[in-house]
Every structure is written in structure tokens, then in C-alpha cells.
Symmetry: none
Subunit: 206 residues, 4 copies
DNA sequence: AATGAATGAGCCTTCATTCAT
DNA sequence: CATGAATGAAGGCTCATTCAT
């Protein structure tokens, strides 16, 4: 066995890199900075990761697999009626989750926005989450025909741009929003949920 | 005597910088690259702009003033009834405008997403646009009391996260979305407008 | 005009680089070392040369053009009889020249020896020199038909491997040879010239 | 108990290193690359060899001892007459041998060319080979007085620069020569042997 | 005999910035 | 206004080497 456990070091580097990348972006974060923050030698990062790009990709892949596991574990309560209350509490949970994974989401979005950047991780993540929801809906109501490619695309687009994006935008910008407009965090959250209910969630009722 | 009109050079630099910053982000774009692309000497950029930061700020300020002028020029048609049709065509125009200013919007959003980045330009832009809309609504219906700070904030938040963000997300990501899901650009636009109508625009009717 | 003359700096860098590359080879010489030895900033080397490779290539090209000029300037004494004496003194001059350009020759040869290295400069150099000689011989005796590709190749090969290579080997290794065998420099030169006369030069008489 | 025979591993490493060093030179070849190519762990190389320098030295020593054995095994046919035919076939064999040991010869020569590099291996190798030849000649004709230091040196120099160097140059550069001049390998070999016969070998007759 | 992890120095290269002209 | 030259710092990456196991 080597001096220490390489797996732990790798995870440590990934964690620190996730934090720093989300703060300053890919180009704004140097390997040096990551190494210092992780308390490891700069060269060691290149022992564990091919290059800087590989670091981001590893981070992004990790959330993909996390979501993948989450999705496959999630139990769908067959019989439940959908009502506004339930949806709202579900949204609150989703926001909470996004808040925990804020950094990686920020990273994904920033990468997707660059012309040359990778958007596949953002879309894949969103797709997985949305697919799960679709499955739930289909099972309950049979209203969405997932076999119909066109229909599926339409559904994904709807969910992504009017559901997913507002939520992650809110999570990523909430703090700065409150600073800029000088308002209360909690109240802002309530307002957002109210807005979101009146817009996107509205399409999940009736 | 100057070789060419200094003002034109400045504008040329700003234009090129806007393009490149939006493609690779602030840190991913070097002054060297901007100079080459603009066909000017690197040193000249430092004649026109204090430093790199000043370049971005100048770009961001320029869109602020552009919107400012647009807003103040815009005539509000007093009597017009609001109906779904009119709203949709208005949205199409807004999307078109965003598409033209895509690059600068991308830049603003990318900067806002970084922890250490500036979000004030993004918010200010959005605020100006939303304020104008609010004024229009107030005039027509008096339903929003802009003097009520709380109410105004609630309205801004609603517009920003469920109106503005979906639109700019769509504009910035549409191309990559179509690539990723292998779908048609025009149809995608139609779907988006339909979704947007059923969610956000819905709150502007009734 | 800039602070100093860029051309001079460029030449200075080239000169220093030629020296260092010949001493330690391409990979054994760092840009840092070159910069220090040339008394310039490391970054400046990248202002004048695209990259490290470009530095070597520039050096190698410079000797090509030097030889090119030399060759085109050289006057061929039409009527002169060829005798051993004259040939020997010509060889002495050639050795002298090689000694002056020792470093660059060393560089060319080292590069040519690597599997992935460039041999074209070495061959081109040799070809130019040999071509000139061929022209001289042809003019005097008409014995070599330069139009005959096969004959030309045969001649070049003969000149290169039994004429050119012994000479540059001697020039490049003489010092180490004398160190290793503990012998006198001047006497060694005489011995070499004698050997060279009895072997290669012999084929230029009769 | 060791996983495999340590001796074999050592030989494997030496073989791979010889190949890589000859391709990219000493500085151009990393221990990492050698380890990967040999299919062993990087650290293991340091178990078998003190450091990188020790690796090259081990390689170079191995050819010295190989030649040493070859030389001491070689039987000198006392009575044989020396004629051009015999010499030529001997040269063909020598070229063949050099072709097999091409890589290590390349390495020796490259090292010898650097100012700071070791030339002793190249000279030692050549010396051993030449000494053997001298012994043969002496035995047959008594023309070379090996006891006379001066005479011996003169002979070695002659053999080295007009015999040995042309041959190894040819072997090391033949491929690139043919590429550069677009000519046939076999014919090139014939031409070279012809030239070599008319120059160096000529001094071994009469 | 063999491995994986770790280190520190150094290398090639880029970059924001300055300055003399 | 505009340019070419120059700088110093930093960035990404490689490498020889060591060490615990």
C-alpha cells in the first residue's frame, strides 16, 4: 500500500476543485490554487487527472452518476393525487437539493454558456431528472407518450426552459439578487415559489 | 494626426472583445487575441482602455445605455387591449432582440454566475426592461403599485426568474440544445413560445 | 521606434541559442537558460519566436541561407589544374570553415540522428555544398553528368558519406578525441588530412 | 518471492530504454515513458538502476562487453590473402551488424556530440573494434607497429574518421537519406559500398 | 521484486501590462 | 493615435526521484 490512500486524495482534490471552479470559473481557477487549497502537491493533481480538462469532466461526471443513482432509487408513489400543496413541497425539496449541489450546477451552466464549452453535461443532467418525472406522470395519467419522439422533445423543452432553468437560476443568483435589491432571503424564496407555482407548476395540474 | 478615427478603433475593439468574451469568457480571452482579431496593436487597447476589466465594464455599460435609450424611446400604446396574440408577437420580438445581443447577454450572465463576479449589470439590465413593462401595466390597469417597495420587488422577481431567465436561457442555449437533441431550430422556437405562453405569459392575462 | 532594436535582440537570442543547443542538445537546453545567457526576458523569446522549435528552425535556416550566399558568391577558377596540393589546401579551408560553424553543424547532426528529428537541414546543407563542387568539376572535366539523376545521386552519396561526414565528424569530435587518446591537436589535424587525402581526395585526382 | 525473474525485467527495461533513447535522445526520453513501454512500474526502474544516467551507462556498457566478447571470440584466419572481394564482403557484414545495433550506436554518437556529453563509449567501442583489426593486420604483415604509440594513434584516427564514421553515418542516416532524395534503399547500399571501397578500403589493399 | 502515491523543481508557454518612440 | 519591444508573473504540465508498503 502506498503512503496514503489515493482514493481519498482524489476525492479531496475533486471537492476542492468543484468549489473553486464554481467560484471563479474554469479559466479563472489555477491548478496551483486547487493544489494549495487541497493541501497537496501540484504534480499530484496530474497523477490523478490527465489534465485540467479531465478534472472538470470528472466533476461533471460525478454529478451525472449521482443523479443517476438518485433517480433509480426514487420510489414512485403510485396512487398519490397531485395537488398544488404536494407539488410545492416537492419543489422546495428540489430547490434544497440544488442548493446543496449549487457549485457543480454553476460549473455546468458556465461551461454550457461558452461557445466552445460542453453543454452535454447540463442537458444530460436535466434530461435524466426530467425523464424520471415523465415516467411518473406517464404511469399516473398516461398523458405523455414517451414513445413519440416529438412529444418527448416538446415535454423536455417545456420542463427545461420553464421549469429547470428558473429553479437553478434562482438558486445560483438568489444571494446576489438579495444583495442587489436589498431584500430578505426567506421572503425571496417564498415569492419565487409562489411565482413558480403560478407559472410552471400550473401546467402540471389540471 | 491619427492614422484613423480613434472612435472607430475603440468601437472596433469593443465589438471584437464582446464577441470573444462571449465565446470563451473573460479569463479565456486574452488581450492579444482581441488585438489580433481587431487588427490593432496590443498596446493600443491600453490607450483606449485602462485595463482588461475596463474593457468588459465598457461593454456592459454600453448595453445598459442602449437599453436605456430603447426604453425611453419606446411608445406605449395607451388603449391597446392585452391579448394572447399580442403578447406572443411581443415575445417573439423580444427573443429576436436577445438573439442580436446574445453575446453581451452571455457575457453578463457568465460574469454574474461566478461567486466573485459582477451581477449588477445583469440585474440592472433586467430591472430597466422590467420597469418599463411595469410602467406600461400600471398605466393601463393600475394593478401594480410601484411605490410599494415590497410589491415592486415581488413583481421584479417574478418577471426575472420566470420571464427573463427562461428567455435568455433559450436564446443562449437554443443552438446547443438542438445539437444535443437533434431537433429543428424553428420548431424548437415554436415549442418554446408555446411553453412560455402557457407559463409566464399566462400571468399577464386574466 | 521601440525601446531597443528588435533585430539585434533577435540575433543575440539566435546566437546564444545556437551555442547552447550545440552544447546540450535541443531537449537539454531550456528557454530559461537561453534567456539568461542572452540577458533578455524569457517572454521576449516568445515575442520573437513562435516556440522552441521555431528557434532551432530559425537557426538551421540561417546557415542554409549563409551557405547559399557563399555558394553563389564563390568564383570558380576556370583553368586551374587539380593537384593534390591544391586539394589539400582547399580541404584545410573547409575544415576551418566547419570549425567556425561547428555549433550549428553539431545541432544539425544531432537533430538528424533522432528518429523523429529533422534531417532535411543537414542534407540540404550538404547538397548545396556538394552541388557547387559538382558544378566546378563538370565545368572543368565534363565527367559528371548532372542531368543524369542516378549519376548525380551516386555522386552526392559518395561526397556525403566519404567526404562530408568524415570532415564534420573530425571537426565535432577532434577535441574529445585528443582528450581521450591524449594526443596533440595540431598533429591530429595533420594526420586526419593525410588520411582524408589518401581516401576521399584520392577519388578527385587521376 | 518476486513476481517474475528480476533479471528478465532488468533486460526488458534496458531493451526498451535503448530503443527510446535512440529515438528521442537522453533528454527527450522520460523514465515514465520507458516504464510504460516496458510494462513495469516507474519505481521499479529505480530499484534496478540508480538513476537515469545509470540506465544509459548500463546500456552503453552492455555494448562494450558485447563487442569485447565478439572480438575475443573472433578467429583470425592466418593465411588468407586480402583482396577486394573479401574486404567488401567483410564490410557488408559489418554494416549488417551496425544495422542491428543501430539504436545503441545512435545513442553513443548523440551523447558524444554534446559538449558536455560522454564520448568515451563511442571511442572505446571503436578502439576495440579497430584494435582487433590492427592485430589481424600486424599478424599478417607486421606493417603496423602497435607498440609505437604514435603509429597506433595515426592508425586509429585513420580507421575511425575515414572508416568507422562513414559506416555508422550511413547506417544511421540511410533511411532518411533515401526519404530525402527519393531513392532506393538497396541501390543506395550498393553505391555506398562502392564508394567506401574506392576510398577507405583502398588503403587496406596494396 | 514490485507498486502506487507523493514531491519539488523545472520546463514551455501565455498573459496583462508598460514604455519609448 | 499607434506600434514594436520588453517585462514579470503566473499557468499548465512533465519529470526525476523518493518512499511506504
Amino acid at each position: 500500500m502506498p503512503k496514503t490512500d489515493g482514493y481519498k486524495t482524489r476525492e479531496k482534490i475533486l471537492g476542492v476543485a468543484e468549489k473553486l471552479f464554481s467560484e471563479e470559473g474554469f479559466n479563472g481557477t489555477s491548478i496551483e490554487k486547487i493544489a494549495r487549497a487541497a493541501g497537496v502537491n501540484k504534480g499530484l493533481i496530474y497523477y490523478h487527472f490527465k489534465d485540467k480538462k479531465d478534472l472538470v469532466v470528472s466533476i461533471l461526471k460525478s454529478i451525472i452518476s449521482e443523479i443517476d443513482q438518485m433517480v433509480s432509487r426514487s420510489v414512485i408513489e403510485e396512487d398519490s393525487e397531485i395537488d398544488s400543496e404536494k407539488l410545492q413541497s416537492k419543489i422546495r425539496m428540489e430547490i434544497e437539493y440544488c442548493q446543496q449541489r449549487k457549485r457543480i450546477i454553476s460549473l455546468m451552466l458556465m461551461e454550457a454558456l461558452k461557445s466552445g464549452g460542453e453543454s452535454e453535461y447540463l442537458f444530460k443532467c436535466a434530461e435524466m431528472i426530467m425523464q424520471q418525472e415523465m415516467d411518473g406522470i406517464k404511469r399516473k395519467m398516461g398523458t405523455v407518450d414517451a414513445e413519440d419522439r416529438e412529444e418527448r422533445h416538446r415535454y423536455l423543452l417545456h420542463e427545461f426552459f420553464t421549469g429547470f432553468m428558473p429553479i437553478i437560476s434562482f438558486v445560483l443568483l438568489q444571494e446576489k439578487w438579495c444583495d442587489y435589491f436589498g431584500c430578505d432571503r426567506d421572503k425571496t424564496l417564498d415569492y419565487f415559489i409562489d411565482s413558480f407555482t403560478r407559472t410552471h407548476l400550473n401546467t402540471h395540474l389540471d
